[in-house]
C-alpha cells in the first residue's frame, strides 16, 4: 500500500517572521563574517554554518603600475585607495555586498588577491611602480577572469560589474587587440565602465575607447584631484551598479536588460560629470610640473 504524502504548495503569506530573531543578522554573509569561529558555530542552529550572502556586486580596479607612476602619483593612489575602502563599504551597507578585485598592470599583469574579496575583508596592498604599460594584456586578463567559471562564480552575484581603469600613460602594447577581446565579454558589455587619466600623458581617447563614452572619463592633474576623482568614480559607480532598476519604463512597459544597463552607464556619465564640475581645484600643484 502506498504511503502517499502529497503536500499542497505552501505560500508564504502567513510566515511568522519573528522566527528571524533566532538568527544572526544579515551582515554576516560568506567571506564577511566577523570571525571564522563564530561563522562555523554549530551549537545553536546547524544551518548558520553556511552564511547568508546578500546580493553582490564586484568592482574591478585596473591600475597602471608602470614606471611613470613612480613617486607622488603612486604614493597618492595608495593613500586614496586605503581611504576609499571604508567609503565603498558604506555603499554596500544597505542591501548589497560589494566585492573588490584589483588588477595591476606594468610589464606584467598581477591580481592583488586570487578572487574578488568582500569589502569588509579587503585590505589594500600598497603598490609600487616600475616597467612598461601593458594595458592590452590587462584587458585580456580581465576578460579571462570575468566569467561564471572564474572570478564571477559567486551564486549571489546579482549585478553586472563595475570596471574602473586608472592610468597615466599611453599603452606600450597592442591595447586594441586586448580591448577587442574584452569587448566580446558579456560582463564587460553590461558592466559599468569608468576611467581616470592621471597627469598630462594619459590619453583620454584611449580611455573613452575603453569606457565607450567620454562622459565616463575624467582626468586628474594633481594629487588632490586624484583623490577626489577616484572617490567620485568609485563611490558613484558602486552606488549605481548596486541599484536595482526595474525592467519597465514610466508607463509600465517592459524594457530589455540591455536598455537597463545602458541607462545605468548613461546615469554614471551624467553623475560623474556633475560631481567633477563641482570639484575643480585651481590652486593645486599639477603632477607634471610641481611633483
Amino acid at each position: 500500500m502506498s504511503n502517499e504524502n502529497m503536500t499542497e504548495p505552501v505560500v508564504n503569506e502567513n510566515q511568522n517572521v519573528s522566527g528571524l530573531d533566532d538568527f544572526e543578522p544579515a551582515s554576516a554573509p560568506e567571506n564577511t563574517a566577523p570571525a571564522a569561529d563564530s561563522l562555523l558555530d554549530f551549537d545553536d542552529d546547524p544551518l548558520s554554518a553556511t552564511g547568508v550572502s546578500r546580493k553582490s556586486l564586484v568592482i574591478f580596479f585596473l591600475i597602471d603600475t608602470s614606471g611613470s607612476m613612480k613617486g607622488k602619483k603612486m604614493g597618492e593612489l595608495n593613500t586614496v585607495m586605503e581611504e576609499l575602502i571604508p567609503e565603498i563599504r558604506r555603499v554596500g551597507e544597505a542591501d548589497t555586498e560589494v566585492k573588490v578585485a584589483v588588477l595591476t598592470f606594468s610589464t606584467e599583469v598581477r591580481w592583488m588577491y586570487s578572487t574578488p574579496i568582500a569589502i569588509e575583508d579587503f585590505e589594500w596592498a600598497r603598490l609600487r611602480a616600475s616597467g612598461v604599460t601593458s594595458m592590452g594584456a590587462a584587458f585580456k586578463e580581465l576578460s579571462l577572469r570575468m566569467s561564471r567559471n572564474s572570478y564571477l562564480n559567486s551564486p549571489s552575484l546579482s549585478f553586472a560589474p563595475v570596471i574602473f581603469l586608472m592610468t597615466d600613460g599611453y599603452p606600450s602594447d597592442d591595447y586594441k587587440e586586448g580591448l577587442k577581446e574584452l569587448q566580446s565579454n558579456s560582463w564587460y558589455k553590461f558592466g559599468l565602465k569608468a576611467a581616470l587619466g592621471i597627469g598630462e600623458e594619459a590619453n583620454d581617447d584611449v580611455l573613452a575607447e575603453f569606457t565607450g563614452s567620454k562622459d565616463t572619463v575624467v582626468h586628474a592633474y594633481s594629487g588632490t584631484q586624484l583623490a577626489q576623482m577616484i572617490k567620485i568614480i568609485a563611490v558613484t559607480s558602486a552606488q549605481i551598479g548596486s541599484k536595482s532598476m526595474t525592467l519597465s519604463d514610466d508607463s509600465g512597459h517592459e524594457i530589455g536588460e540591455e536598455d537597463v544597463f545602458s541607462a545605468k552607464q548613461k546615469l554614471l556619465g551624467q553623475q560623474i560629470q556633475e560631481l567633477v564640475s563641482n570639484k575643480v581645484e585651481e590652486n593645486d600643484v599639477p603632477f607634471d610640473t610641481g611633483w
Binding site: 500500500m1 502506498s2 504511503n3 502517499e4 504524502n5 503536500t7 504548495p9 505552501v10 505560500v11 508564504n12 503569506e13 510566515q15 517572521v17 522566527g19 533566532d22 538568527f23 543578522p25 560568506e30 567571506n31 562555523l40 554549530f42 542552529d45 546547524p46 544551518l47 554554518a49 553556511t50 552564511g51 547568508v52 550572502s53 546578500r54 546580493k55 553582490s56 542591501d95 555586498e97 595591476t104 598581477r110 591580481w111 592583488m112 588577491y113 586570487s114 578572487t115 575583508d121 585590505e123 596592498a125 600598497r126 603598490l127 562564480n153 551564486p155 549571489s156 546579482s158 553586472a160 558579456s186 560582463w187 558589455k189 553590461f190 525592467l247 519597465s248 509600465g252 517592459e254 540591455e258
Partner: protein
C-alpha cells in the same frame, strides 16, 4: 522507507512589491518511490499568472511520474536500458499535463480587464496564453534501484548518495545576463529540458530548490555543505523542519530577496546506517570552509613597504 518535506517562502522583494509567492513546492512519498519537486513562476509582467503556473507545474510533474510508476515492475525492468527515452517521455507528459491545467484554468478564469489593462491591445495579442503562466520546474525522483531528475529553467538539484558527498547531478543552469530562461511555457519546452539518471547507487537524500536558495550563498561549496548539514539532521526531521523553514525565511529576507522553495526526499533506512559518515562530512566541511576563507584572504601582491 522514504520520507520527505517541502516548503516555499515568499521573497522579501515580493513582499515589498505586493506580489504573491511565485514559487510552488511539493513532495510525494510512497513505499516504492519518492518525488521532490519545486517550480519558480517567472513573475514578470507578461507572466501575470505564474504563481498558478508554478503550482500546475508541480502537480503536473507528480501526476506524470505517478502515471509511469503505475506499472511499477515493468518500469523498473525497462528503466536501466531505456532511461533516456523514458525520462524524455516523462518530461513530455509533464508538459502535456501542465498545458492541460493551464488551458482548463484559463477557460474557467478568462483574462480580466484589470489583467489586460497593463498592456496595449497589440502587446496583449502578442503574448501566447501559456506565457501568462510561465514557470521553471525541477524534480528529483528516488526509486529503490535508481534515481533520476528532470529540469527546465533555473533551479538546483542536490543528491547525496551513500558515499556522503553532496553533488549536483544536473549542471546548474542559471541564465547568463543576456540569456533567456527556459520555461514550461516555451513552445519548444520539450527540447529545453535536461535530466539525469543514476543506477546502482544508494541514495541517502535528494533536494530540489528554486534559484532563490542558490543565490543566497556566497559560494557553490557553501551551497552543497548546507545540504550535507540538513542531511545530518534528517533522522530528526519533524523537529528540524522548523529550523529549516526559519533558515529559508532568513535567506529570503537577507539574501537576494527572492522566493525560496526547498523540497527533499530521503531514505530513512540508509540515513540510519550512514549517519556517522554524514556527521563526519559535516565536520570535514567545516574545516575545509575555514581553510578556503584563509586562502581567499591571502594577498597575491605583498605590501612593498
Amino acid at each position: 522507507m522514504f520520507n520527505g518535506f517541502s516548503h516555499s517562502v515568499k521573497g522579501a522583494s515580493h513582499d515589498k512589491s505586493g506580489l504573491v509567492c511565485q514559487d510552488s513546492s511539493s513532495h510525494k512519498v510512497t513505499d516504492r518511490y519518492a518525488i521532490a519537486v519545486v517550480a519558480d513562476g517567472h513573475g514578470s509582467k507578461k507572466h501575470f499568472r505564474s504563481d498558478k503556473g508554478s503550482k500546475f507545474a508541480v502537480e503536473a510533474t507528480i501526476e506524470a511520474i505517478d502515471t509511469y510508476f503505475e506499472d511499477y515492475d515493468q518500469l523498473v525492468s525497462n528503466f536501466p536500458s531505456n532511461h533516456k527515452l523514458i525520462i524524455r517521455n516523462i518530461q513530455k507528459q509533464a508538459i502535456f499535463n501542465w498545458n492541460q491545467k493551464v488551458n482548463a484554468h484559463l477557460k474557467e478564469n478568462p483574462v480580466t480587464d484589470e489583467e489586460k489593462s497593463k498592456f496595449t491591445p497589440e502587446e496583449f495579442e502578442a503574448i501566447p496564453p501559456e506565457s501568462y503562466y510561465g514557470t521553471t520546474l525541477i524534480a528529483g525522483i528516488a526509486a529503490k534501484d535508481f534515481t533520476f531528475g528532470i529540469q527546465i529553467g533555473d533551479g538546483s538539484l542536490v543528491a547525496i548518495f551513500d558515499d556522503g558527498e553532496a553533488i549536483m547531478p544536473m549542471e546548474y543552469n542559471e541564465a547568463a545576463p543576456a540569456n533567456v530562461t527556459a520555461s514550461m511555457c516555451n513552445s519548444n519546452a520539450a527540447s529545453m529540458f535536461s535530466g539525469f539518471y543514476v543506477e546502482n547507487k544508494k541514495l541517502i537524500a535528494m533536494y530540489a530548490s528554486t534559484d532563490g536558495l542558490y543565490t543566497s550563498f556566497g559560494s557553490e561549496r557553501d551551497f552543497l555543505d548546507y545540504h550535507t548539514i540538513i542531511t545530518s539532521q534528517l533522522a530528526n526531521i519533524e523537529n528540524f523542519k522548523t529550523v529549516i523553514i526559519n533558515n529559508l525565511t532568513k535567506r529570503s529576507h537577507f539574501g537576494t530577496e527572492d522566493d525560496i522553495s526547498l523540497s527533499c526526499v530521503f531514505d530513512t533506512d540508509i540515513i540510519d546506517t550512514k549517519m556517522d559518515l554524514i556527521v563526519s562530512k559535516v565536520e570535514e566541511n567545516k574545516k575545509r570552509a575555514a581553510a578556503r576563507k584563509a586562502e581567499l584572504l591571502t594577498k597575491k601582491i605583498d605590501n612593498f613597504e
